[in-house]
Amino acid sequence: MKIAVCIKRVADSETRVKIAADGKSLDEAGVKFILNPYDEFAVEEALRRKEQAGAGEVVVIACGSGASQETIRTALAMGADRGVLLETAAVPADGLAVARALAAELKDGGYDLVLFGKMAIDDYNHQVGPMTAELLGLPCVTCVAHLDLAAGKGTAQREVEGGMEEVEFPLPAVLTVDKGLNEPRYPALKGIMAAKKKPLEVKPTTLGASGLEVLAMTPPPERKEGRIVGEGAAAIPELIKLLREEAKVL
């Protein structure tokens, strides 16, 4: 099985968001960057499928600045065979621009499976995977939480409102993965050492024009100061009164 996994370097969720001087982006000073958590599930799934097949290759592909090399090394330390960095100055807000670059790289790769995270935890875009699939003309299932693969086809389960949707699809395919699909391994020391020697190809890339122009990044509106209504069950009548008369939600 030849499997590609598209991975993104993202700011850790613990990050305190400070807006940069341009008023449009994150001030990266002091921010810890990690492999997007959903992409960890994707890397893990690829490794398991390769292990089960007994042969194959897992290639991780990131589009971003040179710093993404570190993210690729994390995936290599988990066990991926090689990495490709589509090096750009910055990653735009526009998922389509990224999808186009990824599709161009994936097009002639001969992959049986192309995996993505269901979303990046920085932009919550939920789009690069299915867009890439459309550009490649491949079938795609998003938010896969359970996966069975057999010869030439697969069955996936994905969460929808109020239940699980069961989906059948032919291979090769693009899948975006959800939490719960597996439990990602931690890179062992041996893996970390080995990762340093694995091939990582850097390809300078120019992204197409973005259809989305960021005008401003602002902090979310402050929630107005809350208050402690009281202690214990005795405070409930007062709470109900506030919810009815002040907040008007009951």
């Binding site: 932009d123 938010c143 009548p237 009951l250």
Partner: protein
């Protein structure tokens, strides 16, 4: 062209409620652009409830029928919608950032060769261009984005665009959609619990955390949710989902669902940053926690400090009284 195509959602032949939010958002945008709203739904046959689209401001409702469109058919729906968007020369295509919309919108946008502004919480027009707001970094910042592409493809975060009644004539028509359902085939949906509301869509969410002590105690929360008369869903923190007390579909937060209900009640939840990521846009937040210094109180509008096992049953009783 200043018309807006609003993509409605159906399940089992019935219009889903989130469709009203889509029409409401589309109406707001169409008014700013000076155009019409054309509501569009893919289905196998007539859909019950489509007339409501007219009530919420659709000038026209189009049902695109195809025998393969009973269940969601990702490729067939995307093709049909993209063709309509192109043929109609729309200024914008609007859908919900629901489970289906999150899957569908990127496909439609990619087919049209345009960008997608996903999961937006506000939309307007500035100097003729569509301008949207979308939360990033788990809600810790907002991006204001100008959508340069035509059509502007947008998905709306559920529960944010509260439906308003804006009656329009709402003429209805049905067109046959040609072609196959596609290679990706939805075999069916196994329902979690009959009629259960999803946390991402419920107007009221009652969430529990490790403070509940054991899974059986979630009964307290189910009773409270029930007291709201079918308007509330039970959510959970990751701590209790990871412990296997609650299904993952109930998890609120960064690795779970993002919810924006009008009322969110956090019970026995400390308020970790990753939990807040999923519920900070709730209109009103109530916290019940025995620790008065718990971080959840920093974003709660109202807090009751104390033992949840004493407080929650009393709350349930009072809510029951209210709802008769």
């Amino acid at each position: 062209m200043s018309n807006v195509l609003a993509i409605l959602e159906q399940r089992d032949g019935t219009l889903r409620k989130v469709s009203h939010e889509v029409v409401t958002g589309a109406r707001r945008l169409a008014d700013a652009l000076g155009g019409e709203v054309h509501a569009f739904v893919c289905a196998a046959g007539p859909i019950s409830g489509v007339d409501a689209a007219g009530r919420h401001g659709a000038d026209m409702v189009i049902t695109a029928t195809n025998a393969a469109f009973g269940s969601y058919a990702p490729e067939g729906y995307a093709r049909t919608i993209a063709e309509r968007a192109q043929a109609g020369g729309y200024a914008a295509v609007v859908c919900a950032a629901s489970a289906q919309g999150k899957d569908l919108a990127p496909r439609v946008a990619a087919r049209l060769g345009v960008s997608l502004a996903a999961d937006i919480t506000d939309v307007g027009v500035d100097g003729g261009a569509v301008v949207v707001t979308r939360p990033v970094y788990a809600g810790k910042a907002l991006l204001k984005v100008r959508v340069a592409s035509k059509p502007a493809v947008l998905s709306l975060r559920p529960n944010v665009f509260t439906p308003v009644e804006r009656p329009k004539a709402g003429t209805a028509e049905s067109v046959a959609a040609a072609g196959e359902g596609g290679r990706v085939v939805v075999k069916g949906i196994t329902a979690a619990a009959a009629g259960a509301l999803d946390v991402a869509e419920a107007p009221i969410v009652v969430s529990g955390g490790r403070g509940l002590k054991e899974p059986a105690n979630f009964k307290l929360l189910e009773e409270l949710a029930h007291a709201f008369g079918g308007r509330a869903a039970v959510g959970a923190s990751r701590a209790v989902v990871d412990a296997g007390w609650r299904p993952h579909g109930d998890q609120v937060g960064q690795t779970g669902k993002t919810v924006s209900p009008s009322l969110y009640i956090a019970i026995g939840i400390s308020g970790a940053i990753q939990h807040l990521a999923g519920m900070r846009t709730a209109k009103v937040i109530v916290a019940i926690n025995k620790d008065k210094d718990a971080p959840i109180y920093k974003i709660a509008d109202y807090g009751v400090v104390g033992d949840l096992f004493e407080i929650v049953p009393r709350l349930t009783e009072e809510i029951r009284k209210l709802n008769g």
